[in-house]
């Protein structure tokens, strides 16, 4: 069933730092990090005019569909995808088989540069997620914030 994704301050800050740096280094417009289940983890760059929640969900749908196609032809997955538009392009790479790094860049940026920087960032991110997973699975991990909620708390959400 896989482990629930839990994010803590320390890793969250490190992940955001990697994404911020990648945005600059790759001369990208936006960088997103998305869980394979469609949850947005981090967004960096010019995100103001982008519906990030929809982007995360569609990214996950796309990666899932491509993964299904890969299996049909005997591949495990397609770890990298490029979608070229007239002005903007989208590069997706799977990190640590758990999350997807998405880079949106303009035609003034070269794909080679994006690939190169993404490779470096994705190695760093893979390490962070590995550490995160260990932390979540360790018995001393933080208790769920939901362990202490009462039935009333849940009912209150639906009171209006």
């Amino acid at each position: 069933m896989g482990t629930q994704l839990v994010m803590y301050d320390e890793e969250y800050n490190r992940i955001n730092a990697v994404c911020d740096r990648l945005t600059k280094d790759a001369n990208a417009k936006v960088v997103f990090l998305v869980d394979k289940n469609g949850q947005l983890i981090s967004a960096s760059g010019q995100t103001q005019n982008i519906d990030t929640t929809s982007l995360a969900s569609l990214t996950a749908g796309n990666v899932a569909a491509m993964g299904g196609l890969a299996k049909l032809i005997g591949e495990n997955e397609f770890p990298n995808q490029i979608h070229e538009g007239a002005r903007e392009s989208l590069y997706m790479t799977i990190v640590g088989s758990r999350v997807v790094l998405v880079v949106i860049f303009e035609s003034s940026t070269s794909l080679g540069l994006v690939r190169l920087r993404v490779k470096k960032a994705s190695d760093e991110l893979a390490k962070i997620f590995e550490a995160l997973l260990k932390k979540t699975e360790s018995p001393g991990g933080m208790a769920s914030p939901f362990a202490e909620i009462s039935d009333d708390d849940i009912d209150n959400l639906f009171s209006e």
Binding site: M1, G2, T3, Q4, L5, V6, M7, Y8, D9, Y12, N13, D35, K36, N37, G38, Q39, I41, D51, T53, S54, S57, L58, G61, A64, A65, G67, G68, M142, A143, S144, P145, F146, A147, E148, I149, D151, D153, I154, D155, L157, F158
Partner: protein, 195 residues
Amino acid sequence: MSFINYSSREINCKIVYYGPGLCGKTTNLQYIYNKTNPETKGKLISLSTETDRTLFFDFLPLSLGEIRGFKTRFHLYTVPGQVFYDASRKLILKGVDGVVFVADSQVERMEANMESYENLKTNLAEQGYDLAKVPSVVQYNKRDLPNAVAVEELRGVLNTRGVPEYQAVAPTGVGVFDTLKAVAKLVLTELKKGG
């Protein structure tokens, strides 16, 4: 699979609406979308064919408010109901936290309901889930139609486990929010258990 972010104090859960073709899964989401405040919802995304049949999925993000300082968000998905889209359906069940099974109450759709229900069990099992353990509710939709089967009969084949069930007329909203609240509550209760 829920996503808890301690840093931004958010919790995200995924709910999937499942059921046979044309049972009203997308209509449920459209009604929810039309009746919720703009500040609590995101865009409704529908990946559908030219004839408005769901091709891959519909997606609607909803904020429910805060629990103990954590923003609670639900991501609602529908699957394509048509039998031949099974490969896509499987993908959407990945990481699911709660399931709504939408049944079409019309007598001629009974077989399709049963087939879809079995398909749900099979596809969940493939992902390593057991329907009996996944928070789920059943919605008997299209109760306004003259050829609707008695609820007892539907229950006998689609809800032998006795999960919460609701009668609905999705286009007018009857039962739509009751269904959503019930499944959201079950998902949160499961999280409370540390699921």
